[in-house]
Amino acid sequence: MLNTSVISARSLDLTFQTNDGPVQALSDVTLDIRKGEFISFIGPSGCGKTTFLRVIAALEQPTGGQVTVNGMTPDEARRARAYGYVFQAAGLYPWRTIEKNIKLPLEIMGFSAAEQEKRVRNVLQLVDLQGFGKKYPWQLSGGMQQRASIARALAFDADILLMDEPFGALDEIVRDRLNEELLRLWARTEKTIGFVTHSIPEAVYLSTKIVVMSPRPGRITDIIESDLPRERPLEIRDTPEFLALAHRVREGLKAGHAYDE
């Protein structure tokens, strides 16, 4: 049974006008993301992976081609609150407690007070931060802050979750733990997740589909369907299937001149 395309890009182009002249951030990007997929975007700086995510989120405007989200333009999808966005930094408001931070989108979107309370409790449990609701962000560690940021993106039940290198600033041990938690979350909530990362093992571990991109101009070099099982303990990273996938990703990066100076 073919899953419907949730996000669909056709010949997407994006050229930035900078002080040093035009920069082509995206060139002829064509991609389909189906419902329930966990899709990772990997590549070196300047390959357009973050730009692509931002185009989907209506934070950037393409200069050519078409992109639809849930059958609408990205801006319409944004106004319909179709997705949650997680940035590289947790970006929590220091003047609000964790609870109030999670309530931020709920307040803006007009949920009732009772509904807000219920959702906050649910989502704190999902990310394993029960009991930290009344703390302020600076009282929490980096990993916990990022979990709170993810909780905030989950609170209003958008079907799509867009994550831009959310674990990039954390150390490896915390990262491993959060990767596991994210997979568990994905299994429970069945969202469509778009995930940008620098890390090959992270991309292979988390995704059902890996998109390898390369810079100058930003383009897709390879799309790899992962045949790893959906249940993935951390030990799977030492299996030959995992290493084969990682190897294929690395080959894709080399082909896109990611390792050239």
Binding site: T15, Q17, T63, G65, Q66, T73
Partner: protein
């Protein structure tokens, strides 16, 4: 309903981009200044017309609207002088008057020239500013090296910025005059005092700004305290110093002007303000104010220029 394909036009050339940047910065300022001048003209007409109408009524003359407007912008003692009146007055009293005149068979400065008064105000301002800055830097260096001095003086330095010292400047002048100190010295003391504290507070912040990491590196070189001061702390404090200097010079100028006020000083921009207000010469008041504004703008602008050049040569260009 899908995103339309856009076609990228040819990339703009360097000249076009430079022009865009200049107009982007200068045009809004010109527009805002233009709006201010326009509002000023309207205000002048509005506020001066009462006197025009009064005089006309007393003379039993009927005036057209255009005549009222023209008269409102050309009165001798207007409530609000029109911009061109102020400009004309400044021109007449700077370029239109000789800088030096014959008096008792010797050349001396012409007290009818506004530049002479500006000099009378600028000289103590700059002298005091330099003294205050040097003293402030010395005290700041002492404060960061001596804990007792830090704990004693800093709270008072910060507190003194909340006390309206400026308001007592005239008294200090009176007292010093009574003690026999007149002319340049008392005004310089005021401006030195007003420059002193911003420089102290800013320099202390700047001398303390290097990160722990930088200080540790020098400790691994067994650097002595003077070496740390010279090689790390002083360079790091330069941005903070310039910020304080701009605040200090503006404060020093205002201080000198205020110091000239209730003491019946005859020379200086503050004195011109005062005599203008005593004799109802509003145009004179405004021209003195404008000259003070120009002086302040020049001083702060000059410091800003020096700052930009210095920071660029130090690689700290922001």
């Amino acid at each position: 309903m899908l995103s339309e394909a856009g076609v990228a036009s040819h990339p703009p050339c360097a000249f076009c981009m430079a022009m865009r940047r200049i107009t982007g910065a200068v045009l809004p300022v010109l527009v805002v200044v233009g709006v201010i001048v326009a509002i000023w003209y309207l205000g002048a007409i509005q506020m001066n017309r009462a006197w025009t109408l009064d005089t006309a009524q007393r003379q039993g003359v009927e005036l057209t609207a255009a005549e009222i407007r023209a008269d409102a912008m050309a009165q001798e003692r207007p409530v609000l002088p029109a911009p061109h009146q102020v400009v004309r007055e400044i021109w007449a009293t700077t370029v239109g008057e000789p800088l030096l005149i014959e008096r008792r068979n010797a050349l001396s400065p012409n007290p009818r020239n506004l530049l002479f008064h500006a000099y009378q105000t600028l000289a103590p301002t700059l002298l005091g500013f330099v003294i205050g800055t040097l003293a402030g830097m010395a005290l700041a260096i002492a404060i960061i090296h001596n804990r007792a001095m830090d704990m004693s003086v800093m709270p008072w330095a910060i507190a003194s910025q909340t006390i309206p010292i400026l308001a007592i400047a005239p008294i200090v002048i009176v007292v010093l005059n009574a003690m026999g100190l007149t002319g340049l010295v008392p005004k310089s003391l005021i401006s030195a005092y007003l420059s002193f504290f911003p420089v102290v507070v800013g320099m202390v912040k700047g001398l303390r700004s290097p990160r722990d990491m930088d200080m540790d590196l020098l400790r691994t070189y067994s650097a002595s305290r003077p070496q740390v001061l010279w090689k790390l702390r002083l360079p790091a404090s330069v941005p903070f110093l310039f910020t304080s200097l701009k605040v200090a010079v503006a404060a020093a100028l205002v201080g000198t002007i205020v110091a000239e006020l209730p003491t019946g000083a005859r020379f200086g921009l503050g004195a011109r303000l005062l005599s203008g207000s005593y004799y109802g010469q509003t145009i004179q008041i405004w021209s003195a104010l404008f000259m003070a504004a120009i002086c302040a703008g020049l001083l702060v602008g000059l410091l800003g220029l020096i700052e930009r050049i210095t920071l660029r040569r130090m690689g700290l260009a922001a």
